[in-house]
Symmetry: D2
Subunit: 410 residues, 4 copies
């Protein structure tokens, strides 16, 4: 006995690899398929359409195949309405809840296709009704409240993976995992600079995710310049980043009175603690800027230029600074807002914060990942933007070169 | 004009490298020294003694040199009493506060040498008086309360770096940063097993710090065995570790009813979320064990055998589980307690949690760091236990081999 | 003005990704295409066919696009005969020589399609005539002789990239670059063992490429077992591998007279030199085995079981052993022969030798790459077998586990 | 029964760590010691002296300890003359031959201390007599000829490990294995530039060891500048480096006629082969420069400025170029000469060639290792210069920055 179901794909399904992947999935999972209708896009602006009947030996196998096809953009030909059940409790999902991909998604409910807002991976989809109109949005597990109407099963859901840009993808490789440390850096950095300038020109939002190595390696001034000149809309970092940045302003260049009692700059960790202590005494970074304690650096420029920043706490932190959000769930929520607004994300030498941001990004956001460790870059690219650049290089030279090129291009 | 001060070293200062380091520090920092008295330990159980006059061009330079010597165990010959000042506010240290090393430390105050309790790096030392008796202990910045009596300056403080063990250091290299992936693993793992068994035989405390890769790589059963058999006193991990462990028990091997609705195990992330959801519904891990939901695995054994565990939250977490401590400061405090009680720490394939634990360890605690990434092992060993083993190997084979050898040796 | 040309694709061009790639290439290179005919394979055993007209602004652009399409299996619809020119000198190719891919290739010459023998990347194709019949084979640059008939241009050449296996690719991912250190090792190693046993059962040839870390990490005995039991047809290694293996037999376990004069096994490098010296004195490895000097180990088993071995020299070598081929070109030729005969290649903890072997492999040979360094595994997988497994793990546990499973499965 | 022997140390044995290491060795190897005489250097320019009696349970244990002490600079107090035996054959050493360290070494023979020329690790020491005068020099195994007079045993040999520089070691850390990617690059690169300029000012010899990544990453022009301006005395590289460099000159920037027939620069490997082919046709690099084929680049500047270069072959090579030394032993000999003449060695993004050069260096040569892979840097630093700098950074920015600073400093 075999069971079967019909699915459809449409759009630029050939060059985006969707159709090939779908054929491959069926075969890898020991199913079979029969193409019932196929219309090829005859030129690059024409879309293709494929309707195929997928068969498997058991209903379970078929469901597995359909699930996988679905994640890759093949949707059932006969959309039954989506099902939804109330959440059994706060932070509890009903059995069989639909878990999102990071691709644009729609739900067929109450007789129409409803787009899912704030798409992000591994979330539940919650339906909300107001004045007889339904809207849909993602919710992470801890945001679920008892009786939220949660979509279950896979019927009535349409996933739209990104398509290959028609006019070349520019520096952003389409769906490419490859990372090379041997690519000629200068020209690639220029292309990133151009993408950044163009994003801003179009009114887009640039989010910088940065780790403390950025400051250690001397790239703080260049990032501060980018913030001052308006090329950064939001900063996502941690307590260490902010402390190093402020400490560098306080102790790195001037030789004030405090330097004398602090004595020995060789093993600067004491400065680190003292910096935090002084900011705590002031009441926070804004207050420390207002009081004239902080006069330069990335955080200073964020304050002066009203750039939104999130400092997420970690169990490695000293202090922390009063601005640091120590609760992981609260911090995630703040990061989530930044991620949802971003059009271009620069992930600069931090795995932890980049993963946290990346978890909240839809597959349509452009990302640039830079780290000296190839494993970090690979891991970040694997998470799934369809338009991503990975560079294995020294952050201490990348950021100044980027800033230089941004100001040239501008 | 030159200024000078006299410092002393005693103990096994030659083979522990202290004396060589102190000579080197003076020269590297452009000072000079004059050995006023030197008594060499003529055999391996005899200690040596060195008193030397250190000179520099300026008081500032001299202070820098003395600070550095001090960190390495050279103490002023004429101990003046330590100074202390009240903290100007909650989480604020007085200017010039003394910032600790991770070596055993004493403070000369109120006419006597007081040992500093709970020694750990980058803390302040707080003096407390009760019935006219002073005690001293470390406090991290966020534990400081207004008017705490905080030691300032470096006078009256004695640091005692660990000495090379007289009878060979066994597998734990003394003060060695070197990490090799080429060492014959079998025999080294046996030595770690022997150290673990011996620690337990002597009533010591074994802390395991573990990352989710341990579960992914199939080493969960072996760790669960070690917990069940009493070789683990505490577990320090994260939300991901616990969720993967529980999920594996729930979905990995059995084929319960839920499996059917959950459909496709290929991209298990949905299981991950559902596992957390079900534990939340139960009320927590203990409750889920009591209810029979969790019947095996590392967390199960921790519950059944009353093994203390800390699950520290992170901004990468899904969920999280109710047991996860989401506040970074609370989580650090819980980790700190684990670290202070440990005699032997196994750091298994997690950089984040290992650094958090390592930050709280005195230099005298034995540590074993295992990771497939040499950079992780190097970073952990650099943090400063004097008795550490680093192994670059696959955690999925290390833990089962370790468990096997522990049960053989036992 | 636009210029255009018609190309064809046929076979399993959808699921193998060829058609998607070809569409993508045209767009990325700013060309356009018009699909003139398209027949989809309606089920998994049916092939597809696509004929499309590709256009570009200039003849140069078009050539570039056609070249790239060609490398990916799109062949001109109207095959003109291939051109060929005599090589102008020894080790000199004519301008515009055709440089091979590692995919099966045919040349249209003298009125028929001639398969190219010994396909391997970055070679010239040389046509040879005997009794009026032409044959074609690859030649590396240094094998070219004056007046060799070398194919030039891209006309009349058909490249056939491998297609996705119809019945799932087993453990060998089809065209996947991804490497994971988190995959459950045990089951994957079992699948490799099964592939190895199956290869031998079908009369195939297994080539092991091994680095010295294999011996250091204690996996020598397990590899020797595999050789003894007939699971290895050829060994490709270096002077270091063989020396470590022999040295281990000579000094590692026994305590002969030489041990006493050699004194201190702690820094064994002297053993290393002395081992080579003694094998030189004997006249070579075969002679040293005959004389009873070498009584165990991988090299011993290779001699005893007539397993072909190539020891390629390197500028890092000590000695070297008389068996080591010190000339790089000669060594490459020997490696080339091994590679051409292999059906399954295990690349074990050596980048240098694995790259050398990989350079000579057609894309149809199955490869397994194992190294503790993820960058090494990634680099090897990138070179292009269509059926490859990469594992980031400790070679010291991989080989013994593999051997165990091979003997179980057998 | 215990056996014992007396050893001496003198020089700056405390700050160089020698004395501490020697004490440690005795204890780690379960021996004991009795310091018979000790004179401490009372200030930084005064040397220390230690005579100690070392005891162990068996003669074998004692020999092991004495061997290890000896490697670290502790020499027998009662130097017996060295023994020497004729080599039993070409490339065969007598049993018990003395295997060198990379430290300056003397042999007591024929009544006097003879310095060993061309000191390098893992060699034999050969004594040669002329007019009744003995000289000593190192020979690698394959240079040994029958009847060469080879030193055996450890009597009569004095090893002198380098001492810590009295005036600070500048950027070159003394005996430090540590490598950091977080150090502020700019200032460190400046210090390297200063060391380079100073070496040339003092008439020293600068050897650059370079891998192909240097060209890929766009740093070729900067290295060519350094060669042209006389800051490089010798270049040690491989076939790939030279080919990439020449190919870049030929195809990278100009758009000559050949470009048209070569068609598509996207996958440049065909250029690579064709470049080699054209240089072969010319007869070699010198001839290709003379003929005007090569007009720029690193190799061009080497030819024009009479900079000695060695291109060592490898089994990974295409071609190779006629200048490439394909025989590993010949190539090693050429590298050995370069290494022996060098005062400062820059190892730039190549593990293979750097190890080959490093094997031939005495411990007194300054080395700078730069690679994006921390494991490469660590491995190179471990090999033992006492004055080494390791930097984990992108070679594509390091070399241009270095060149810029060299021209500034000059």
């Amino acid at each position: 006995m075999t069971v079967s179901r019909t699915v459809e794909l449409d759009g630029h399904i050939i060059d985006s690899g969707m159709m090939g992947q779908c054929f491959g999935i069926v075969m890898d999972m020991n199913g079979s398929f029969e193409v019932e209708e196929f219309e090829v896009g005859r030129h690059k602006d024409a879309t293709s359409y494929c309707r195929m009947r997928v068969s498997a030996d058991t209903e379970g196998d078929l469901q597995s195949i359909i699930h996988e096809l679905h994640q890759n953009g093949a949707n059932p030909a006969d959309p039954r309405p989506a099902s939804a059940e109330p959440a059994p409790g706060d932070r509890v999902v009903p059995a069989g809840f639909y878990s999102t991909t990071n691709h644009p998604t729609e739900v067929f409910y109450d007789g129409q296709w409803i787009p899912v807002d704030n798409i992000e991976m591994d979330c539940a989809v919650v339906l909300e009704e107001e004045d007889g109109e339904y809207t849909a949005r993602t919710k992470v597990l801890n945001a679920i409240r008892e009786d939220d109407l949660v979509v279950v099963g896979e019927a009535g859901i349409r996933v739209n993976p990104p398509e290959r840009p028609r006019d070349g993808s520019g520096p952003f490789g389409f769906m490419q995992g490859g990372v090379s440390s041997e690519r000629p850096s200068e020209s690639l950095i220029r292309e990133v600079a151009e993408a950044l300038v163009e994003t801003k020109r179009e009114g887009g939002n640039v989010l910088v995710v940065a780790g403390p190595a950025l400051i250690h390696s001397g790239a703080g001034d260049a990032l501060a310049d980018l913030v001052r000149e308006g090329f950064v809309d939001a900063l996502s970092a941690g307590n260490g980043f902010a402390t190093h940045d402020i400490e560098r302003g306080l102790y790195g260049t001037s030789l004030g009175m405090d330097m004398e009692t602090m004595e020995h700059p060789r093993k600067g960790h004491k400065h680190h603690i003292y910096t935090i202590s002084e900011v705590i005494r002031a009441g926070g970074i804004q207050e420390a800027v207002d009081a004239g304690l902080i006069e330069e650096g990335v955080m200073y420029e964020c304050i002066e230029n009203d750039v939104n920043y999130v400092l997420a706490g970690s169990i490695r932190d000293d202090g922390p600074l009063p601005d640091t959000i120590t609760d992981a769930v609260e911090a995630q929520n703040a990061i989530r807002e930044q991620a949802h607004e971003a059009d271009l994300v620069l992930m600069l030498s931090t795995l932890l914060h980049s993963v946290a941001v990346g978890n909240c990004l839809p597959s349509t956001t452009k990302t640039v990942c830079v780290d000296i460790n190839p494993a970090t870059v690979t891991q970040l690219l694997d998470r799934g933007s369809s338009q991503a650049i990975g560079m294995v290089t020294d952050i201490g030279t990348f950021v100044p070169t980027l800033a230089e090129k941004v100001f040239e291009v501008e």
